[in-house]
């Protein structure tokens, strides 16, 4: 839950919209402005905030916010 809240703040900051509310099922189609160009800003901000580094395969596999949270939690747990 803590990860989701922090992630929500990151989404609000990157997409400059305080009304954004993300859920595990949220995809790029649900967030205004989340396209392949803004995606890279989102990823670099997440990596900086959580002090983690995604592999290319992890990034290419992520299909929704749920996948993103699962990868963040796994990395924070040290796996």
């Amino acid at each position: 839950m803590a990860t989701e809240e922090t992630l929500n703040q990151i989404f609000q900051m990157v997409f400059d919209d305080d009304c954004i509310q993300i859920y595990p099922a949220t995809t790029a189609n649900d967030v205004d402005g989340w396209d392949s160009l803004s995606h890279v800003n989102l990823i670099t901000t997440i990596e900086a905030k959580f002090s983690i580094r995604f592999t290319q395969k992890e990034l290419l596999k992520q299909k929704n916010v749920g996948d993103l949270i699962a990868d963040i939690d796994r990395k924070l747990a040290g796996n």
């Binding site: 392949s36 160009l37 890279v40 990823i43 290319q56 990034l59 290419l60």
Partner: protein, 483 residues
């Protein structure tokens, strides 16, 4: 054998009848045999060998990727498979170019590869690469273990020559489903095929008459007649390619298979990024997922520069894929520059529109469509012109005012030709409206409305048939078949 030849209609009827009367468990074999037979009609036996090689390589590598436990081993098999497929594609497409360069360099005059054709190779190779990548990324949970069905996924004849480039998850499950005759699917498939035939023979090839005249005599044209020639080519390539896609999708539907839509009114795009979401959709999805994204994410530490560079490289590769000429390279480079530069100015543009209070204005939308269409058409000049020199001549000559201009310069001023084009465009649009309406009333099941819509469709298709037979232009081959 092309989709517009009479032989194809006989072939299609024969294959469908055999398919229909065969038991479900052998239907894949009927379609696979038909697909290889269709490919064999291009009288280049090496194409069948190349298809079989790409099939065997990607099938084997797919199994190997899935079987490995270690990430590094999975990656190794992905690289082996992708490199082998790309090497085959490069050899098939660029051997004539490399031979010509070798001849120039060494003063030789060999012509071993001059007649080499690579029709269809790009499309099934792209599918093979996406299949292996999707298994590696675990988008596909299991590799296909039935070699025959996998071979059919790559070779399915409606999309073999110029796509759509189908994803494994979209097409393979459909090829495994039992077939059941569906009157609506059969009818809509035939209508879509006829619409495609009409768009090719009556619209695209009629635009081609004027576009060819202008681009083959570029020094004779200036100003408006030249500009209309450029517009004519923009419409020719759209109608030509979308016609093929309609015919491919129509043929697929006859066999109960839904192929991906490749176009969504691309000239109504309001930006170049929007254009690429609407033009050759299966290809743009492919280059986005398998070239752009890995590059962009790999270069993410460079921020916006990394994204801009990834866009530039992706579209240069896309240009070179079309052929080893400077014209294609510049076409790709232009689209790369359009998109790369937009990553810098887009945020400011958005703020400016907001500040001016015009972000929701319909005038702004029309202006953006106008600008996008002209940027795309500008790039088409380099794509179509016989040389870069000719393209530059066209670009500069279009601004020259021709004082001796007369409407006789415009082949399009031939009234009957203009009338046929306008009627054709109106019919295509009308059919689209009728079908949109049909989809809406399906929910309500109003039988009277159904009857009207059905009758209207039949009337429009009948007029289209009439025009195909009596107003069709002697057909040229499809533009994108050469890529």
């Amino acid at each position: 054998m092309t989709f517009t030849s009479f032989t194809f209609y006989l072939f299609l009827t024969f294959v469908y009848l055999v398919f229909y009367w065969t038991a479900d468990r052998w239907r894949w074999l009927v379609l696979l045999t038909a697909s290889y037979a269709f490919y064999a009609t291009f009288k280049a036996p090496y194409l069948l060998v190349v298809l079989l090689m790409v099939t065997a390589i990607s099938y084997t590598c797919g199994l190997k990727i899935a079987a490995q436990q270690q990430e590094s081993a999975k990656k190794r098999w992905l690289w082996i498979g992708s490199t082998a497929c790309v090497a085959i594609l490069v050899l098939m497409k660029y051997l004539p170019f490399l031979e010509a360069q070798g001849n120039n360099l060494l003063g030789l005059n060999t012509a071993i590869t001059r007649t080499l054709v690579s029709i269809g190779v790009s499309y099934f190779t792209f599918q093979a690469i996406s299949y292996m990548a999707d298994i590696y990324l675990e988008i596909e949970e299991e590799p296909e273990r039935h070699f025959g069905r996998y071979a059919l996924y790559l070779a399915f004849f409606p999309k073999l020559l110029q796509g759509p480039i189908e994803r494994t998850g979209d097409l393979l499950p459909q090829l495994k489903k039992p077939y059941q005759f569906d009157y609506d699917a059969m009818l809509s498939g035939m209508i879509l095929f006829t619409l495609g035939l009409f768009k090719k023979v009556v619209v695209a090839d009629r635009f081609a008459l004027y576009a060819d005249q202008v681009f083959n005599n570029i020094h004779d044209y200036t100003g408006l007649p030249l500009l209309l020639g450029i517009y004519a080519y923009a419409f020719q390539i759209y109608f030509d390619f979308s016609a093929y896609t309609d015919m491919a999708r129509g043929t697929g539907r006859i066999f109960g298979i839904n192929l991906t839509e490749n176009f969504n009114s691309p000239y109504l795009a309001t930006s170049i990024a929007d254009f690429w979401r609407r033009w050759h959709i299966s290809f743009s999805r492919w280059i986005l997922d398998y070239i752009f994204k890995p590059l962009q994410l790999g270069w993410r530490d460079w921020g916006q520069t990394g994204t801009a560079l990834a866009l530039l490289v992706t579209f240069i590769i896309s240009g070179i894929w079309h052929g080893a000429t400077w014209g294609f390279f510049i076409w790709g480079l232009l689209h790369g520059i359009y998109l790369a530069s937009s990553t810098y100015y887009k945020p400011y543009q958005k703020k400016l529109y907001k500040w001016l209070g015009i972000e929701k204005s319909c005038w702004l939308k029309w202006w953006q469509m106008f600008v996008t269409f002209h940027l795309v058409s500008f790039a088409w000049v380099f794509f179509r012109a016989n040389s870069v020199g000719n393209a530059l001549t066209a670009v500069f000559s279009v601004f020259k005012v021709n004082h001796s201009f007369s409407f006789n310069q415009l082949l399009i001023s031939d009234l009957s030709s203009m009338f046929v084009i306008l009627l054709a465009l109106a019919l295509v649009h009308l059919l689209k409206i009728v079908h949109q309406y049909k989809n809406r009333i399906d929910v309500n099941c109003l039988s009277a409305n159904h009857l009207i819509v059905h009758t209207l469709s039949v009337v429009i298709i009948s007029i289209m048939f009439y025009l195909v037979i009596f107003c069709g232009v002697a057909t040229k081959s499809f533009i994108y078949t050469q890529f």
